[in-house]
Point group: C2
Chain length 395, copies 2
């Protein structure tokens, strides 16, 4: 049995590369950018009027002039015009090109207009005011978005601005999610007394959906030849297999055996943690196999604690570790890492983790009451209020 | 001009109800639950074996017996069997029904099996051990998920477990996103010297996508009759109109005028904030109109600071306010609330907000460098390192 830290390191070192694809930029939110995005021109691309008002030659104002005949209008989206007479002015709109020969903009609030004459009502006007200078934000060729950025609404806006109607992103892995266990019936079925409905595969589908990874699902009976045949075909088709169940010590827990027979090389089986100890991980040349124990919380936390980091490493994303402050003392005797469900709250810039008492790894409903797991290390039995530990959010 | 606090209160008080719809549970992640989810049976629904091993009558162990003849196997998914002879045992698998007449489970690790006889190798066995008692987690009829919960992977699992193959959720608003401004060209176009590409509508589409709200987009020229005709038809069709641009003091900023002529009742125009001051908000009987100023950061922050809370209020969700600790002194002279872009980091359970220096509301690329806005209140000019303020995340 290995430690959580060792298991995580092995999983991360086994990251795969799924390649790159080009997709419409508007569909790219949540995906990982696989090219550098550079400015195609200066930003702003011209001396840009930043306020609605009048544009003047600053020299005239400096010479004491306060009233300016309006020569014309420079609208946003119109070609640049020129001030013909330096003692006149041009009405200008936010977003317009600054007219030629002008070098200050006075906003309407500070101007009085009558009979085609604009009179400035303030004394403080500075050279270049209310002008967003060409290239001030970015120069043509500057990197605006780094490769391996997770694309959010902010990046979508920049992609649009530089004309990237399609964009290169990390391809997503092809994932098959498999449940086993003869006690499981479909969601639509009414279970008999000794049966329960399938739920883990749907939880996993949803956890992957959060990463924008589509997935397929299958249910296999606890029958070794059938398991073997099906899994063989899955290994040929998918980058990732996620299993729930059949990895423990039960008479029908054929999975480790079947995976070995199919040439999946085991990296480890069992991690010193609760819940989710019998976690099995291995790989073929082209596929990674995460076989999670079948208890709902075991499957859930292992997906978050191992599959998520493996995926982020695979696509080139480094995430910041989040940590939080324990709100009360916790005692945990076994020499195992303990993934404890917590509610998160914010107080004065502190992130507080309040433990939720569940009834062990089978208590699916207890997940609804929490927001995250706090990861309490092995080799420590008493965890004090105020101590800080890593958390793994799921909301 | 009203304060940010007043504006937000008005917006929240103007929340709409979009009704309820029933959708497949597997498509419901991110949506808001509009029914109570109750346990359809006890959880666990039977005395559930929690470890692979053997089940015995505890009384026999208590009487000193350590070796038990194996009578049979109780697999997960099989009907409950009975222990025929109280001095025998039954092999049991995790997830199985506890056999009748048994009341303790000893895991395989603590048992030695030879010639059909299981011998227990430990002395500490307790009555009921390794049995997850029927109804221990939840009783039939207990509320498992409250109405108005945002559905996440955890809730998806519970919905599956109780057989809710379809689920009632809040309907999403029908949203039209409209850009104005004659300087704007399509993402695929090469802009002329005085033009720029449309980007705000796509940023808004993406910000709404984060809320699982689909939206449509349109671009209108700065022509009053056209604006009026189009907006009239939008008001008849959509629950929400989001505008970007044409709300300031420019000669072609027809929007407030057109909206008034179309019977949209103005709640306010202009909020004491930077960026995004000329924000206009109003309603008809059936539609809400958020008209954001056209600078990219103004549109972005107003959507987060006003549309998001309005939406959550409309669908019945109360969100916790997040706050963070300022990492350095900030000085801001105008008597306006200041939405300052910040990078977030975690240190010892503290959420730290580090300001990003941008070049004002036109500097779209600066959004890429930050994670959130920190909201610095008006009526204060100096903000000290270590002070705590509300933040609005966008990643």
């Amino acid at each position: 049995m290995i430690s959580v830290e060792e298991a995580l390191q092995i999983v991360i070192d086994s990251a795969q590369d799924f390649g790159v694809e080009e997709i419409p930029f508007i569909q790219s939110a949540g995906r990982i950018l696989k090219e550098q995005i550079k400015a195609d021109r200066d930003f702003p691309p011209f001396n840009r009027v930043a306020m609605d008002g009048i544009a003047i030659a600053y020299s005239s104002f400096k010479n004491g002039q306060r009233s300016f005949k309006i020569e014309g209008i420079q609208a946003a989206g119109s070609e640049q015009i020129s001030l013909q007479n330096l003692e006149n002015c041009i009405e200008v709109m936010t977003g317009a090109v600054l007219p030629n020969k002008c070098d200050a903009v006075i906003r309407y609030e500070d101007v009085f207009i009558e009979n085609g004459i604009a009179t400035i009502s303030i004394d403080a006007v500075t050279d270049g005011q209310n002008i967003h200078q060409k290239g001030k934000d970015e120069k043509a060729g500057d990197v605006l978005i780094k490769q391996n950025t997770i694309i959010s609404a902010a990046e979508i806006g920049v992609l649009a601005t530089v004309g990237k109607s399609t964009v290169k992103v990390a391809k997503q892995p092809k994932v098959m999610i498999v449940s086993t266990g003869d006690e499981l019936v479909a969601v639509d079925d009414v279970p008999l007394a000794h049966q329960i409905r399938r739920s883990n595969v749907f939880t996993l589908v949803s956890l992957l959906e959060k990463l924008h990874i589509p997935s397929e699902t299958a249910h296999l009976t606890d029958d070794k030849p059938i398991l073997k045949e099906k899994i063989k075909s899955f290994l040929a088709t998918y980058d990732v297999l996620l299993f729930s169940g059949a990895v423990s010590k039960g008479k029908f827990d054929f999975l480790p055996e079947v995976l070995a027979e199919l040439g999946v090389v085991k990296s480890f089986h069992k991690v010193a943690q609760r819940p989710g100890k019998p976690f099995w991980f291995g790989q073929t040349k082209n596929s990674s196999v995460f076989a999670f124990p079948g208890n709902p919380i075991s499957t859930f936390v292992n997906c978050l604690a191992y599959f998520y980091p493996w995926y982020f490493k695979s696509i080139g994303v480094e995430l910041q570790e989040e940590n939080a402050i324990l709100s009360e003392d916790v005692s945990f005797k076994p020499n195992l890492a303990y993934f404890l469900q917590v509610q998160l709250s914010y107080r004065y810039g502190h992130l507080i983790a309040s433990p939720i008492t569940g009834n062990g790894s089978g208590d699916l409903a207890s997940l609804v009451k929490a927001d995250a797991f706090i990861q309490l290390p092995a080799n420590q039995n008493e965890f004090k209020k105020g101590e800080v530990f890593k958390i793994i959010r799921y909301r």
